[in-house]
């Protein structure tokens, strides 16, 4: 069959498994500078699904599209190391503070610049918000069907893609024509690891902004090898409406945040000694909590 053109949406996320006290700014938004960042786990699954399709349909190309601060260029490099063909970064201070609606608007502006495409893939959700909203919102704005929570591609042919979806209480196998947007569930195949050859080839890939502070070696490499320069798109490059991006394009606002302070119960503090545990079990049985 004809080769497909796939765009993978990927996000760099703060590692929410290691959150410190200074993780939030007073206005309630995330203080990203204070946190380690990782490739959003579900998006890595999406990348694997794209690579799997590429294995099955020779000639297929994969473009990783990310939106974020300069640091998010790591996502593009990581995509290259694992087998993506192209990478594009949408980066501009004015995109900051976006909720899912403004994010999907921005991503779609970028996707439209990459058109035509057959498949848009993305992780089901990102670990910094767990909303699972950006995928369906992009599908709506692109006016294409969505197939959410996909864990495996069953069949892929000229006219349609057949996929298995993981639902709350079961599975569903559905077919969709092209183009469509697929969100990938964490129960799908984990992403293959980096290829040493690709790491060698792309380790000096940089955005234009990064090149401003790069050394001569990297600059001379970029002169010889144009593929090393990661396209970097601003508000103007994607023709975004300022009213629809960043904070002003975001209907949801954080009114307040509260740190969690548990109201202390009067707890009985016990040790792991036999006497303590037997005492507790006896009390529970006596009060008919157990037994």
């Amino acid at each position: 069959m004809r080769p497909l053109k796939i765009v993978v949406l990927a996000k760099q996320v703060p590692d929410t498994r290691h959150v410190g006290p200074d993780a939030m700014k007073p206005d309630g938004t995330v203080n990203r500078g204070k946190l380690a960042t990782v490739f959003n786990p579900d998006d890595l699954h999406a990348l694997e699904l794209a690579l799997n399709i590429k294995d099955r349909v020779p000639g297929t190309t994969i473009t990783v599209l990310t939106m974020g601060p300069q640091k998010a260029a790591d996502i593009i490099r990581e995509g290259y190391y694992r087998g993506a063909d192209y990478g594009v970064m949408i980066s501009d201070r004015r995109f900051g503070g976006a909720d899912t609606l403004a994010t999907s608007y921005t991503l779609v502006k970028g996707i439209n610049k990459l058109a035509p495409y057959d498949l848009i893939l993305g992780g089901r959700q990102a670990i910094d918000g767990d909303t699972a909203q950006v995928g369906p919102q992009c599908a709506d704005k692109l006016n294409i069907p969505q197939v959410t929570y996909v864990e495996e591609i069953i069949e892929i042919n000229e006219n349609e893609i057949i996929a298995r979806r993981r639902l709350d209480k079961g599975i569903e196998i559905v077919s969709s024509p092209y183009p469509c947007l697929i969100t990938v569930h964490g129960s799908s195949q984990a992403c293959r690891s980096r290829k040493a050859k690709k790491v060698m080839q792309y380790k000096y890939a940089r955005t234009k902004t990064e090149l401003r502070t790069a050394d001569d070696l990297i600059l001379s490499l970029h002169e010889k090898r144009a593929y090393l320069t990661i396209p970097e798109w601003s508000v103007e490059d994607i023709g975004a409406d300022l009213e629809k991006i960043g904070l002003s394009g975001s209907p949801t606002k954080v009114k307040s945040v509260e740190s969690i302070v548990f109201t202390a119960n009067e707890s009985k503090i016990l040790s792991d000694s036999d006497a303590d545990i037997e005492m507790m079990i006896k009390e529970l049985i006596e009060h008919h909590t157990i037994g």
Partner: protein, 339 residues
């Protein structure tokens, strides 16, 4: 007209529990606002379905009744809901944070260009003074959810792009009959005039839905493990204890991520919310994402070798020690003392 609207899920003529819970939550909001509670439901064979919905205090029920609407598919449901929401212009719209609601709600939020807050644990009505514009906004939806690794609760509002939409997980809101004899006005939607052939391009080839083997919501006792359990072997002790006590085994997200336990047993904001008689938290530190799903347990026992674990503050009994040491002793002394 100002109203609260709930999207109801239905399969085989049975309205989903989550939807009834949302109707109760929606009714409480509607009463605070002094406005009607409306609902919409799309499926097959829905004649008489209002009898399941009316007791929750629904004023108007919009029904889309067609073979082609069940099982759920995104595009036809989105087309019908969009039409209703545009015409009725409700102030608030609620969805279950289910496979269906999380697929549909964002598509609608994009279509209507409005705000959507996922996985709320508290819904309320309140005001907001916007300093920049010096405007007081009255009667907004407070969509409150744990955020960011569970270290904070965030109150999310939306004052300028309506409607205000939110999703809520199953089990978070209490299901309450409002009035057994409440009368609901039924509004039949002319499905065929709204839907187009292109709404049906995605086809369901196969579908297998479990009747769900795990029922955490109704378990009187839950033995739950976290990352601190340490290993899959230690988790076996929890399973043994749960069996012995006639309860179910659950786990935190960290335990699920570590592969100690299956995802359908996850307790917390992104899992199941439970209210058991006894909750035993083994090696669970107690991030708000987890405690949001179990804090209403009547009694809580925390087993942890960290004396400062946040969950200890919720616990009735705090046992300082390793799960691998404490739980076998609990098994032993239960066997010795139970009648």
């Amino acid at each position: 007209m100002k109203s609260v609207m709930v999207y109801c899920e239905v399969e085989n003529q049975k309205v989903a529990d989550i939807s009834l819970e949302l109707l109760s939550a929606g009714k409480r909001l509607a009463q605070k606002l002094g406005c009607p509670l409306d609902a919409m439901i799309f499926g097959s064979g829905l004649n008489g379905i209002e009898s399941q919905i009316a007791p929750f205090g629904v004023d108007r029920l919009f029904i889309g009744n067609s073979m082609r609407l069940e099982p759920y598919r995104t595009l036809p449901h989105a087309a019908l809901a969009t039409k209703i929401l545009k015409e009725e212009d409700p102030q608030i719209v609620l969805f279950g944070a289910t496979s269906v609601g999380r697929d549909l709600a964002p598509r609608l939020a994009s279509k209507l260009n409005c705000g959507l807050t996922a996985d709320c644990t508290i819904l309320d009505i309140g005001d907001h003074f916007e300093k920049k514009e010096k405007i007081e906004y009255k009667d907004l939806l407070y969509a409150i959810r744990p955020a960011f690794g569970g270290s904070i609760m965030a109150n999310i509002i939306n004052w300028d792009m309506h409607p205000q939409m939110a999703t809520v997980r199953e089990g978070v809101m209490k299901k309450e009959i409002f009035d057994e004899n409440y009368s609901t006005e039924v509004v039949e939607i002319d499905v065929n005039s709204i839907l187009k052939e292109e709404d049906f391009v995605v086809k369901i080839i196969e579908r297998h839905i479990k009747k769900s083997g795990v029922n955490l919501k109704d378990a009187p006792i839950i033995v739950s493990g976290g990352y601190g359990v340490g290993s899959k072997e230690n988790f076996e002790y929890l399973i043994e204890l749960a069996k012995l006590l006639g309860g179910e085994v659950g786990g935190s997200r960290a335990a699920v991520d570590a592969g100690f336990i299956d995802h359908d047993r996850q307790i917390g904001q992104t899992g199941t919310t439970v209210r058991p008689k006894l909750y035993i938290a083994a090696g669970i530190s107690g991030a708000i994402q987890h405690t949001a799903g179990m804090q209403d347990a009547s009694m809580i026992i925390s087993i942890n070798n960290d004396p400062d674990a946040p969950i200890n503050k919720l616990a009735d009994y705090v046992i300082h020690g390793d799960v691998g040491v404490v739980v076998p002793k609990m098994i032993k002394y239960y066997k010795e003392n139970a009648k």
